[in-house]
């Protein structure tokens, strides 16, 4: 194959804009600055090995994982419907799922506040019909809701593009051979869509771990998440060394998680197979 050269521009780009900045982060993570100047050390990593910080990390991973799962459960059927014949595989319709994301993030989240608040719109409607109130603002549920809302399109789109090209004849053949719709789904559609599912999971999970504005606004700052914590190290404390170290630890955790997930991907080409 002589097609590898087409990716060379990307390698140059990667070298300048990904590898060099990452080396900077690496440098910060393994150094501290004190009176004697800059010296190499592992202190930043030891510092993180306290139960309180580990809790923060695990909590963030857990929340992100759960949100990714919900995105998958909600998003997969959407992608399937969009890719089905009944909707003539409409690209326009799939656009409808991403357009809301073009409105500013802060405004969208404020809107959620307006909807979910004690005297918010949803509760007003519920009480009009004498239904029980919905008090989920400032709970984990609200944070998950916010994450699902913001990342759902990133799950739907990759699955949809993959499903669109699955040969309809395969499905028909399976049906003709007497497979019920559940068998057809689990034996044909699902396995063939795995590459799209993996992309979707990756694109939702990674940013979900590091997000902090959602947890700040919808979780009410009740607990610290890892993204939040790193942000504070960099901005409030100007401690780029510790911040970089946490960032690296988190990166390793995420890559491991993705590695485990991509074991489901048949040819393990999704990346992270290193681990």
């Amino acid at each position: 194959m002589n097609r590898k050269w087409v990716s060379y521009p990307y390698f140059v780009w990667m070298l300048i804009f990904i590898i060099i900045p990452s080396l900077l982060i690496l440098f910060y993570a393994f150094t501290v600055r004190d009176e004697q100047g800059i010296r190499f050390t592992l202190d930043n990593f030891y510092k993180f090995c306290e139960p309180i910080y580990i809790t923060v990390l695990l909590k963030s991973l857990g929340l992100a994982l759960f949100s990714t799962f919900v995105c998958l459960i909600v998003g997969y059927p959407v992608a399937m419907i969009l890719a089905s014949k009944q909707f003539s595989r409409s690209t326009t319709l799939s656009m409808l799922f991403i357009i809301p994301m073009w409105m500013n993030f802060l405004l969208r989240t404020y809107s959620w506040l307006t909807l979910l608040e004690k005297n918010g719109i949803i509760n007003a409607i519920l009480s009009f019909f004498n239904l029980p109130r919905l008090d989920i603002l400032y709970t984990n549920t609200a944070v998950v809701l916010g994450m699902v809302y913001n990342f759902l399109p990133f799950m739907i789109l990759p699955i949809y593009t993959v499903l669109m090209k699955i040969d309809g004849k395969l499905v028909e053949a399976a049906q003709d051979l007497g497979g019920n719709s559940l068998t057809v789904f689990s034996k044909i559609t699902l396995p063939l869509s795995i590459p799209g599912v993996m992309s979707g999971i990756t694109m939702v999970f990674m940013p979900a771990v590091t997000t902090f504005v959602i947890s700040k606004l919808l979780g009410g700052g009740q607990y610290t998440l890892i993204g939040n914590f790193i942000e504070r190290q960099f901005i409030q404390l100007s401690d780029w060394n510790f911040g970089s170290a946490i960032s690296m630890i988190m990166m390793i955790f995420i890559l491991i998680s993705i590695g485990i997930m991509s074991k489901f991907d048949e040819d393990k080409g999704g990346g992270a197979a290193l681990w």
Partner: protein, 357 residues
Amino acid sequence: MKRVLAGLLVLAVVLSTGALAGCGANNTTSKGSEEKVTLKVYNWGDYIGEDVIKKFEEKYNINVVYDTFSDNEVMHTKLKSGGGDYDVAIPSDYMIKRMIDEGMVKKLNFENIPNYKYIDDSFKNLGFDPKNEYSVPYMWGTVGIIYNKTMVTDKVDSWNILWNDKYKKQVFMLDSQRDSIGITLKKLGYSLNTKKMEELENAKEELIKQKELGVVQSYVGDEVKDKMIMGEAAFAVVWSGDAVFMKRENPDLEYVIPKEGSNLWFDSMVVLNNTQHQKEAELFINFMCETDIAFENADYIGYSTPHTEAKKQMSPDLLSDIAAYPTKEQIKNCEVFEDLADSIRDYDRIWTEISAK
């Protein structure tokens, strides 16, 4: 769909050539009038009268590049690492102290700022700039409790009310370590600039207790304004400038500065160290201190001005409002934030422990 992509590509090219042409045009005009200086100003968002910049540009024939930031620390991070080349900035008190210590700001030549005489004397020589060499106050205010009169029967005059378990889920605390720990220190009778570990530990216990009592609905940021207006909770810790706005939108709200004292804050104008245009920068600061302009700014933003003449033009309603212009007596226990230096790590640790509970 391919055609759509192609169309977008063309659009991108058109737009970017437009942008380049625009830049080119700018360059030629600046070459045309060689001496026209460009002054770069860095301020909080939506924190200046709408026509003020234009008036300044016209009056002095100076170009102004005006950018905004969202908080002190973010601004500091950017300036410190050389990411911005501004001439004038308007940070808050403790940040100014830090910038002075780090050599990021320039001493002002007050001969170029004659309007400085209008600044209220009680706002000069404050802790963050003790000899008043670096900064000119722009806006000021306090931190206090705003409460909804229809939801509270007790007398509100102390921070203790925020620890009263009668008010379950009725308190909005600030999602800011410095402010929340600060008011707790005040409640306990300490200085809000303390670096003593023992006092900080006490404050931590107090904040954890508050959380466990279940009075806190959440720790919030700027969205607290809308929430209090909607009546989402009975109490909130807020900045006075916002309190004025909230009271106007919802007359049931009332603002108090607790008797134990609180935080007194300032946003002041400074000239940054790497400026090429110190004279023009001082001209700008002086312009901001002109009576009409100071009034226009304060009127638009709704915060309190330190300008004595501009204050006189304010409506009597506002002048009698404790949220806007408290008396000397009301703020006698208040303190201005100082830079915490390394102790900020202790604050951060405490805050992480509180939020991990």
